[in-house]
């Protein structure tokens, strides 16, 4: 009886927080779904009448939609590949005993603390600017025509910027995983005749899989909603070469004042995120089981 009572009391005690969190999530979601069925444009102040799935139809048949979808996936995938592979290599380097290890580690983590807008501006103006940028200067030194990264390879440039931001995160998590590897296992593999490369493939990588899974899952959540970097650098352009779904929703609802269309886009983004999540959990979720 006592436990039943205390359980009931516990439920009562945590209910305000749970209810608040639930409303916090459910109300905006509900309103977004509601708006997505309305003909709701800020430029048309008249009645917001119910138009069924027309907003969805409009959003999906937009010629920019497929491009945005592909861009979103390329962006996520590209950054994931660069950060996990680069992160493992970086973690291996940082795990080596070296002079000034503490300072080097802090320096490596630093990019993660720079705000996305700031780092995107730094990349845009300091590195990739075709006239004053450092890359342009290097190209000049080599006697090559400067390359206008953001105009000629916009999506690639954004992948580079985002990877630069997220590489430290991956490296840091993988470094801690690497440090928890039992050194006797490595020594045993050495005695067993495994070369440095075999030791890495057969001992280190399996040890890291769980951390790599965590890195991939966390990063995917954030990478699906990349916006600031695009907004600050290319504005989705040229054309819609660097437009992803979040940016397309933004342009729909805030540049074209179409609340209904933007809401429909938002719901599509939620569905897309769920599809990606299901795929990810199918593929790598089993690594998280003990």
């Amino acid at each position: 009886m006592a436990t039943q009572h205390s359980r009931a009391a516990a439920r009562l005690m945590i209910s305000p927080a749970v209810i608040l969190l639930f409303l916090w999530m459910a109300v905006p979601l509900g309103m977004t779904i509601y708006f997505s069925f309305l003909n709701y444009n800020l430029l048309i102040p008249s009645a917001h009448n119910f138009i069924g799935l027309q907003n969805y139809d409009f959003f999906v048949t937009d010629p920019a939609f497929v491009t945005a979808l592909v861009n979103t996936l390329v962006l996520v995938l590209g950054v994931l590949v660069i950060t996990t592979v680069g992160g493992v290599l970086m973690a291996l380097l940082l795990d080596r005993p070296m002079w000034g290890q503490g300072i080097v580690r802090i320096l490596v983590i630093a990019p993660f603390f720079v705000m996305p807008t700031v780092s995107a501006l730094v990349w845009k103006n300091m590195f990739m600017n075709p006239v004053n940028g450092i890359f342009a200067w290097v190209f000049h030194l080599l006697g090559i025509q400067p390359f206008d990264f953001l105009a000629q390879a916009p999506l690639f440039s954004i992948i580079m910027i985002v990877s630069w931001e997220w590489l430290p995160f991956a490296a840091l998590i993988l470094l801690t995983a690497l440090q928890s590897l039992d050194s006797e296992q490595i020594e045993a593999a050495e005695m067993d005749g495994a070369s440095a490369f075999s030791r890495f493939i057969y001992i280190t990588v399996p040890h890291l899989t769980r951390s790599i899974t965590v890195v991939i899952l966390i990063q995917t959540i954030f990478l699906l909603s990349i916006f600031a970097e695009i907004y600050v650098t290319t504005n989705g352009g040229p054309g819609n070469a660097s437009t992803n779904i979040p940016f397309m929703i933004y342009s729909q609802s805030l540049l074209q004042f179409d609340v209904g269309g933007g809401s429909a886009g938002g719901i599509i983004a939620v569905i897309l995120a769920n599809i990606v999540a299901i795929f990810l959990m199918r593929m790598i979720g089993k690594n998280l089981e003990a």
């Binding site: 039992d182 006797e184 296992q185 020594e187 045993a188 593999a189 050495e190 005695m191 067993d192 005749g193 495994a194 070369s195 075999s198 057969y202 001992i203 399996p206 040890h207 899989t209």
Partner: protein
């Protein structure tokens, strides 16, 4: 096959010399135990032989060939670690197969060797489990299995039994000794437990602070310890040491006599004392006697049935021909 010689081997960590110049010969097929208190350099010595640490100076020869600069894998030695160091993500089968896979042994041969190792170590039913699902003793056997499939020139054991409970330890001790008789391969075994050393070894190497104090068969060390350290370290319970006029009577600075070589009597004897704690093992009883005349606490082994009680006044007499004599420096006379 597995003759290992160390010649003037030195190991320094920075400025600290953990192993001063050391010579040691290990014959083919011998079971050699390195024993000593913790921090005496016995594990370091084993790692030097394995090649996991580089020697600072000197030579290591395996089968007469210089192995000083060979990589661990090229020395054809197999090692069983204290933590077993099994690969947690691989099944038992894959763990045992790993060294064979690395050596490029073909699949059929791999299967054959795994099967025979598993049979020898009673692991056949566990081949498809992971190390996490095994008990300590089974993990230990997997680690040994991984070592024997390579058919190495010598086995190195680094305190392999210290993570097992007392009953399993006795069992594994027998299994490892039995394995040695069956394989007749050189084995080097590191332990801090002198009972393991005495029961398993053909040859014991007693180490202290990186220095070899004495090398010999278990009974040699028991009968003729070369110095006070070996005398005190080998044998359980410890040897009793007496200094002063009793020692002077034997022309020595210190005399030592083992608990089993002291007679206890209730009426008459050489030293008088009062019984303290008695440890009854059933077959024997170890009686701790607080002696009179400043000789300190002495341990005596008596028959298990002997009736002694705390506070009894007793008399002790050492067996004259079993007394060990040592000079001021602790060397045997």
């Amino acid at each position: 096959m597995g003759k290992i010689s160390l010649k003037q081997v030195v190991k320094k960590f920075g400025e600290v010399e953990v192993i001063p110049p050391l010579d040691l010969e290990i014959e083919d097929g011998e079971f050699v135990v390195f024993v000593g208190p913790s921090g005496c350099g016995k594990s370091t010595l084993l790692r030097l032989i394995a090649g996991l640490e580089d020697v600072s100076d000197g030579r290591i020869e395996i089968d007469g060939k210089d192995a000083t600069d060979l990589a661990p894998a090229e020395r054809r030695l197999a090692m069983v670690f204290q933590s077993y160091a099994l690969y947690p993500h691989m099944t038992v089968r894959k763990n045992i197969a790993f060294p064979l896979k690395m050596a490029g042994v073909d699949h059929a041969e791999q299967e054959r060797r795994i099967a025979s190792a598993a049979k020898a170590l009673n692991l056949t039913d566990y081949l498809d489990r992971r190390p996490g699902q095994l008990s300590g003793g089974q993990r230990q056997r997997v680690a040994i299995g991984r070592a024997i499939v390579r058919e190495p020139a010598a086995f190195l054991f680094d305190e392999p039994l210290s993570n097992l409970d007392a009953a399993l330890r006795v069992g594994m001790r027998l299994e490892i000794t039995e394995l040695h008789h069956r394989l007749a391969t050189t084995m080097i075994y590191v332990t801090h437990d002198q009972v393991e050393a005495m029961t398993m070894a053909d040859k014991i190497v007693v180490l202290r602070a990186g220095v070899v104090e004495q090398v010999g068969s278990p009974l040699e060390l028991y009968r003729t310890p070369q110095n006070l350290f070996v005398a005190g370290f080998i044998g359980s319970p410890k040897m009793n040491f007496v200094t002063g006029k009793d020692a002077a009577a034997h022309d020595a600075h210190t005399i030592g006599v083992r608990p089993e070589h002291v007679k206890l009597s209730k009426d008459t004897g050489h030293w008088a004392g009062t019984v303290g704690v008695s440890e009854h093992l059933g077959s024997d009883t170890f009686v701790h006697v607080e002696t009179e005349g400043g000789l300190g606490l002495m341990t005596v082994r008596v028959d298990g049935e002997m009736d002694v009680h705390h506070g009894d006044r007793v008399f002790l007499t050492p067996e004259e021909d079993k007394i060990h004599r040592f000079d001021e420096k602790g060397q045997r006379l």
